[in-house]
């Protein structure tokens, strides 16, 4: 397919809880990693193509601290900015978008209420709707959707759900491999490819990033349109530029600073 120049995106993810960025392996041993607005601006300056902010506080309602965090972070960002975690209604989506986010990521709420995807897409456009899918491998070629931060199996096949989400109006899919998340062992290329090859909308691969060559793999073998990582960026283990140079050297189009 002659889409030579469209850059593969490197997306920095900030997991936040009560207004602070945190990082741990599979929600264990959370470490404070800093202020969301400062970190987002730093990632942007370092060459990240987008910022995703996920609130991992498990609460019944959209946390008030999240809206303040979104507002402060958005004020410093002039690249695309997605917010997820706890968005359960059109009102929640509206609140987050009004605070300056460009897209909302909807996960568990979309499983419970698939029509929410359509309602947000009709109000704000599909480009504002990212459907986040947490997938756990069931067989060598199939994956099951989990909700509630990866704690509850749904019995729904990840590929079927991704296809349905696209039909309902999703603009992008944020696909997380629960098996790889936090392992730094590389992305699940089989999962990513299975879904990316079936959809017309972009697929963002997530879970398992640890080394620059993992990004090369997920674009070449996984057919991903974008790749997301959190911890590889926060602690300076690998800078965005190092990853992008590895991609460029592999012949993959990326956006580098002029």
């Amino acid at each position: 397919m002659p889409c030579e120049t469209l850059a593969k995106r490197i997306i920095a993810c900030l997991d936040v809880s009560v207004g602070r960025v945190v990082k741990g392996i599979q929600f264990e041993q959370l470490r404070d990693a800093g202020d969301p607005a400062d970190l987002a601006a730093a990632h942007s300056a370092a060459g990240a193509d987008e910022i995703v902010l996920l609130d991992i506080t498990a609460t019944a309602e959209l946390p008030n601290t999240l809206l303040d965090t979104v507002r402060c972070t958005a004020n410093q960002l002039f690249i695309p900015f997605t917010v997820g975690g706890g968005i359960r209604s059109l009102d929640d989506a509206a609140a987050v978008l009004d605070c300056g986010a460009d897209k909302v990521a909807i996960n568990s709420a979309a499983i419970a209420d698939p029509g929410l995807i359509t309602r947000v897409a009709e109000r704000y456009g599909s480009q504002a709707v990212v459907v986040a899918i947490d997938a756990h491998q069931k067989t060598p070629t199939s994956w099951e959707v989990y909700v509630w931060g990866g704690r509850k199996p749904t019995g729904i096949d990840a590929l079927e759900w991704a296809v349905r989400a696209e039909q309902l109006g999703a603009g992008e899919i944020l696909l997380t491999s629960m098996d790889r998340d936090g392992t730094k062992a590389g992305f699940d290329c089989a999962l990513t490819r299975t879904i990316a090859k079936r959809l017309r909308i972009p697929v963002i691969a997530s879970g398992g990033a640890g080394e620059p060559h993992h990004f090369v793999q997920v674009f070449e073998e996984g057919a991903a349109d974008a790749a997301l990582a959190a911890s590889v960026f926060h602690f300076g283990l690998k800078s965005v530029e190092t990853i992008k140079l590895a991609l460029r050297d592999a012949g993959i189009p990326v956006r580098l600073a002029c």
Binding site: M1, P2, C3, E4, T5, L6, A7, K8, R9, S44, D49, A74, N75, F78, I79, P80, L97, D98, C99, G100, D102, Y124, G125, S126, Q127, A128, G171, E172, L199, R200, I201, P202, D225, A226, R255, C258
Partner: protein
Amino acid sequence: MGAMVAIVDYGAGNLTSVVKALRRLGRRCVVSCDPEIVGLAENWIIPGVGNFKATSPLANGNLGQVLRNGIADGRSLLGICLGLQWLFEGSTEAEDLRGVGAFPGVCQRFPHHVKSPHVGWDSITFRGPSRLLAGIPSGAYVYFTHSYRAPVCDNTVATCTYEEPFTAVAEHGSLFGVQFHPEKSGDIGMQILENFCAL
């Protein structure tokens, strides 16, 4: 502070990020759907995302008339994304609606065999002199998100190629349109907005 910029609010999408970008540049701006207020500003920005149908408030009525008259009089205007498409003759997305027709051609959907929408950072190639792109290098990356695109025409000053070339930037006198989102395109985008405001 310079001239006042009116960001035309016709109900198509979130205008927060355009306002934020202009504030960062230290530019005075007002968001309005009131034809009188819009008419008082020296420069206009028409943002917008989504379906061409969303331009229907601009098809008839006072707001659309003020804008069309201003364009005919050489008023400085920047259309962003759907705002660019509205400056063309129309779109197959909503065939009963007409655009301004300041740029020739009709916007069409990307063919079915390519991933669509065209989302992400893509590079633009210059094909003519441009005041809007002053100081920007050809090949610069900017952020797109769209399913329909405008054809390349005589007024196209930069193209992007996704399957085939389309208009990324069109320019004629003081009339400008960009298919991408300068307010989401980092330093390059901010420079483009500054160029427009500083005209």
